[in-house]
């Protein structure tokens, strides 16, 4: 059974696209057939982060509108042969993303891929709602900062009310997990930023991982390489751990490379 996972946040610029690229490459590295879809219509960016921008011919909207076949629009990754990217369109017409169109594309992707990662645009408008609508699971990307946490809470509400799983009688709700990114221990120690515990206490959802603020992320995006495929870094290994948890492995939570046994026990205590 394939799984549709939305990477969402509400707030912009928190690391959704970075995360979508890293998680999808991490899954593919482990041998799972994975496709990552850019839902940010009008602002194509995932292609650059994945390093396939020169090879975009057709896009998601072309497929929805019947101008191209899905196989023509999918860009096969040159580094990992079980990874593919479905780029978004540069069109300004956001209505091009129809629910029926999205459903048809997802159904076709399910025939080939184990994991379908949906990179949501910021906000809570149509694009974001379309990205989450058919999801089985959600990764809510959050920075330890007030407006990001507030928006994450908003998005968690939408995941529980405005999605297919929410509307379908008897369906399991979307499994949502929070991924804390741009975690900066130095700023937390100075009291400038909330701790992971603070964020989890407010959002009350399980923690998928903690990604440190890392120059490796900027480097990887400059190079067009998902951070887990670039040179080893703290961010890359934090993403690898998140991927392992996503596929059901138990991996100890680390902050900046250090184990946090207290954190994980508190976590399991809270998530019923």
């Amino acid at each position: 059974m394939s799984k549709i996972i939305v990477v969402t946040s509400g707030k912009g610029g928190v690391g959704k696209t970075t995360t979508s690229a890293a998680i999808s490459a991490g899954l593919a590295k482990r041998g799972h057939k994975t496709v990552v879809i850019d839902f940010d219509v009008g602002l194509r960016n995932l292609d650059m982060i994945m390093g396939c921008e020169r090879r975009v011919v057709f896009d998601f909207i072309n497929v929805i509108q019947g101008d191209a076949k899905l196989k023509q629009a999918l860009i096969r990754d040159k580094r990992l042969d079980n990874l593919a990217v479905l780029p978004t369109s540069q069109t300004r017409d956001k209505d091009a993303l129809t629910q029926e169109g999205v459903e048809a594309v997802l159904n076709e992707l399910k025939e080939e891929f184990d994991y379908i990662i949906c990179d949501s645009p910021a906000g809570i408008e149509r694009g974001a709602l379309m990205a989450m609508y058919y999801a089985d699971e959600a990764i809510v990307v959050t920075n330890p900062e007030v407006s990001s946490v507030r928006d994450s809470d908003r998005v968690l509400g939408l995941l529980q009310s405005k999605t297919h799983r929410a509307e379908e009688e008897g369906a399991e709700p979307i499994k949502a997990q929070v991924l804390i990114t741009r975690h900066d221990q130095a700023r937390i120690d100075k009291g400038e930023m909330m701790t992971v515990e603070d964020v989890l206490e407010i959002l009350a959802v399980p923690l998928l991982g903690i990604i440190p603020e890392s120059p490796a992320v900027l480097r990887a995006s400059n190079m067009g390489v998902p951070v887990v495929l670039d040179d080893p870094s703290a961010a890359a290994s934090a993403y690898e751990d998140a991927v392992a948890r996503l596929v059901g492995e138990q991996v100890e939570m680390k902050i900046g490379g250090e184990r946090r046994p207290g954190l994980i026990s508190r976590l399991f205590g809270r998530t019923a």
Binding site: R54, R55, S221, N222, S233, G257
Partner: protein, 85 residues
């Protein structure tokens, strides 16, 4: 614990980023944007169909944008025995 902090940073990440953007934006600003490709595909298909019987899905366009030049690779599959005289 990781070797990464000891390794010298590759100095060319920013330059690579700039090069990639310049190539991409040059193409996006010029008329050769991918927006015309569905139409191009349709026109090619129509032209070929005047001469041979091919399937609507039998056309596959691949593009690779480069610095000096880009390449457009068009593959058309047709059954050998379906050619019109």
């Amino acid at each position: 614990m990781f070797g990464f902090s000891l390794k010298p940073r590759k100095p060319n990440a920013a330059q690579t980023a700039k090069d990639r953007l310049q190539i991409l934006l040059a193409h996006e600003r010029s008329g050769a944007s991918p927006d015309c490709l569905p139409e191009l595909q349709r026109d090619i298909l129509e032209a070929i169909r005047k001469h041979m019987k091919i399937d609507r899905d039998a056309i596959d366009i691949k593009m690779e944008r480069g610095e000096g030049l880009s390449s457009l690779e068009i593959n058309i599959e047709f059954p050998a025995d379906q050619r019109k005289a």
